[in-house]
Symmetry: C2
Amino acid sequence: MPKADASPRPQPKDLSHHFSAMAKLRVQSSVAPFVQALTPSITNLGAGFPLAGTFPADSLEGAIAKTNRFPLHPMSPTSFPSLDISRFTIPKFSSSIPAVIATDNRIDLATSLQYQDSTGLPSLANFISDFSINHQNQGKIPYSKPEALITSGAVDAFSKCLSTFANPGDSILMEEVTYFTARDAVLPFRVRIAPMKLDDEGIDAVALNRMLDTWSEKNMGRKPHMMYTVSLGQNPTGSVTPLKRKKMIYEVCQKHDILIFEDEPFWPFQYNISEASTETFLATLAPSYLQIDIDGRVLGINTFTKVIAPGCRVGWIVAQPAFIEKLTFLTDDSTSNPSGFGEAVLAQLFRQWGVQGFVRWIEGLRASYLQKRDVLCEALAEGRDLIVHNRSKRKRHSEEHNEHHHNHKTKIRMYEFEVPAAGFLLWVQINTASHPLSHTSRGKSRLTPSEIIQLLWKHLYGPPYNLLTIPGNIFAATPGVQKEIDAAGVGHLRLAFIGVETSDLKRVGEVFGNAMKTFWEGEGWGLEALDADEEV
Amino acid sequence: MPKADASPRPQPKDLSHHFSAMAKLRVQSSVAPFVQALTPSITNLGAGFPLAGTFPADSLEGAIAKTNRFPLHPMSPTSFPSLDISRFTIPKFSSSIPAVIATDNRIDLATSLQYQDSTGLPSLANFISDFSINHQNQGKIPYSKPEALITSGAVDAFSKCLSTFANPGDSILMEEVTYFTARDAVLPFRVRIAPMKLDDEGIDAVALNRMLDTWSEKNMGRKPHMMYTVSLGQNPTGSVTPLKRKKMIYEVCQKHDILIFEDEPFWPFQYNISEASTETFLATLAPSYLQIDIDGRVLGINTFTKVIAPGCRVGWIVAQPAFIEKLTFLTDDSTSNPSGFGEAVLAQLFRQWGVQGFVRWIEGLRASYLQKRDVLCEALAEGRDLIVHNRSKRKRHSEEHNEHHHNHKTKIRMYEFEVPAAGFLLWVQINTASHPLSHTSRGKSRLTPSEIIQLLWKHLYGPPYNLLTIPGNIFAATPGVQKEIDAAGVGHLRLAFIGVETSDLKRVGEVFGNAMKTFWEGEGWGLEALDADEEV
């Protein structure tokens, strides 16, 4: 993987006019110079730091997977991944040179359980910085010099971006269907969401530019100066925005002076790539906006949630130094560094794996998720059509006595989906217009797509199917978006394929198809009850 | 330790009018009902939760201290604490009943490294809730039913309180000298700080009431509806506010409808108590405001930083349920739960220690800190006076040739301090008025106390003393407070006694006294240089 070349790079633009009123007031912690004055030759009567001897944890040890646990090619559904492990030991003290706040790469409990700068344990922070800038982003970030700040996960990172850039009354651009937690996090900031049209490559750059060109502050509120996007495995649609499209969108953001908060939890789980060696794997992936960010207007948000474990609660932000500085001041005043237990284990894991080992680990996960995607998509494709025998409804209910009914077979497509290009999520469009409840019938009023999805969700969740899905309406960026989807006569369910063992996914896909079929045929919404009413 | 008795308790008051504009908009996460719908009998196609088999950590093990590591009575300065340990092992799976989000008290990596409710790992959250409500606060919180919310430390907790209750333009009451990080955290919220007068029992309740009774919104801005206080080991003064005074202050807060954010990192390190058995230790401590909080207007902030280790990054807030609910919604949108690695280790530690073991651990730390306090205070008391031989300055500089100078000994008290009643901190008043630089001399303009403290700080920090201290000015709640302190002709240094080994503290205290003496005698501020100038 290439390191940044040595040619000089331009400074990022001064974009400090984007800072929120709150961020403008954030300055360096008043105690920081005194903590920085703590060196091994100094007696600490200043900072109220307990001695490491008072920490009750004397060592932390354990077992971690070897990087080849998951094979790079599909496994037989009944085979198991490798259970080889490496042991690790994190001692209480790893150096005879005392340091209250260590600035070197030591990994020990005396350091990780002590107070730290809110930039985190150096051994972990340095790994993240090197990995994200030189490997994940291939040393290609165009300006001098991007920095990485450790956070308590991606949601924490986005929340810190909002605190740093959003004022009440601002507007933010979000994909028309988007990650619900990001949408939920925006609203209390009294920031208006401006939905962006999507196609199968993500944000429609032309429609975006038109919206911004014709923005009327009188009718639409303050013009957006921020964008939130998930471009590599969009949540929920699973699309990947290729570089060419990204360049168009970035130009629109330059023209209209918009910051980009790019949240990429799924970035390495891209499926439409030419598979290569571990050495070249990262280079084959569609890139982040960071790689074309000549201005320094992108804040790249990332996390270990999907590549290590959600419980790490460790993420990071890559951005220009002036942004990282304000975000660090905010971190000083709020979360500080992540847990020292977690930092030490992660730092040790990456020390034992190395960058190439971490990439190999990710590749293995990707191969496993690709297999899951394919198994579920195949099973779902099988079940998407309902074969019906066309008859009039009256005839159907007196079937036994009717010798003359027509019996044409018709195929109803109950649901459809794009195979996701990245991530773990299937955005399944439910063709509610083809469902009996969407038609006016016997004086009963027609149900809206959202109402049908609500009944469908319950039907899938109840016995005998017992499937948890997420209804599409919670992904709508705004109530207006949901109205448009309803008006199109469709609804959605989001299915995640990572929570089910590969060996079980075919069956689960079939259960889904069967449950859809019975829902179209009358189960789950009281057709019998309706009929009974009528026949009384 | 008593549990809450069974008699019915009143509901807390509805104090929702205190919520910030931001908090009023915070509602339950839109995905929460779907995550709650995940039970062992349900197939998860909904939440994008990786399977635990993909977490690379297979086990976490280690060694923790036994609870008697630190003896309850002063050790000889050269003796070592007990090095007995207990081993622990946290397995990947601890139960054959699968749970994506476990609601029981299991401690395993499959649970702690998975997504969790932002209320944290149940085994740890339940311990904290029981410990803080039934033991730390003795089951005495007067209303029905207080709750505890886990946070990423005390600074995170206070930041969340500000987000939940502070609007721009609000005012907050803070002790006139206060914890700098809390003061720094307030300012970006565009909240004005109203300083409260302190005496040796903490906040002066009468002065506080007078200020609020006579508050002029025209001259002083919006009347405060929030108070931040550290009442059990005030930072920096080390005072403890006894129950009687607390009742007076609480009544003032009731009268003026003020919420109390009570930050008590030092609560168990109280020194003026009648020592008792481990069973009764917590009952001997001066209580939190929570124990008299009939209205539910106190948010008690606490942390494991001083009783386990700063790197835990785990704290908690105890408050009435309506407050905890809003703080939980904010947690959903920001930090989520603390690190699963840290949660698992802490939960395991407390399982092995039990509540009584944890109390015994705390008692041992307290005994160790009491000894440190006494050693340092004794050494500092020795060195606080400078014996000077009274002469005119002119005579002094021609001493060799002056046979007739008077030689009266005078004692100058260079510094003084109250022995802290709790905590780790000594608030040392420097009598700058007695320092030569405070007097106009030979046309050189007199230095302010703050300027003298700045020179003194450098003098102490430099060789041969190499002592890090914290100058008093960074504790001033407002610039106005600092002006008043300057006007009184004094300055301060804060000394922490926990960062130095007990065996070294006597020497360090003597070094401090010597350094003060040489600073009074002319080192560290260029007396020789001044003299040289004059004699040219």
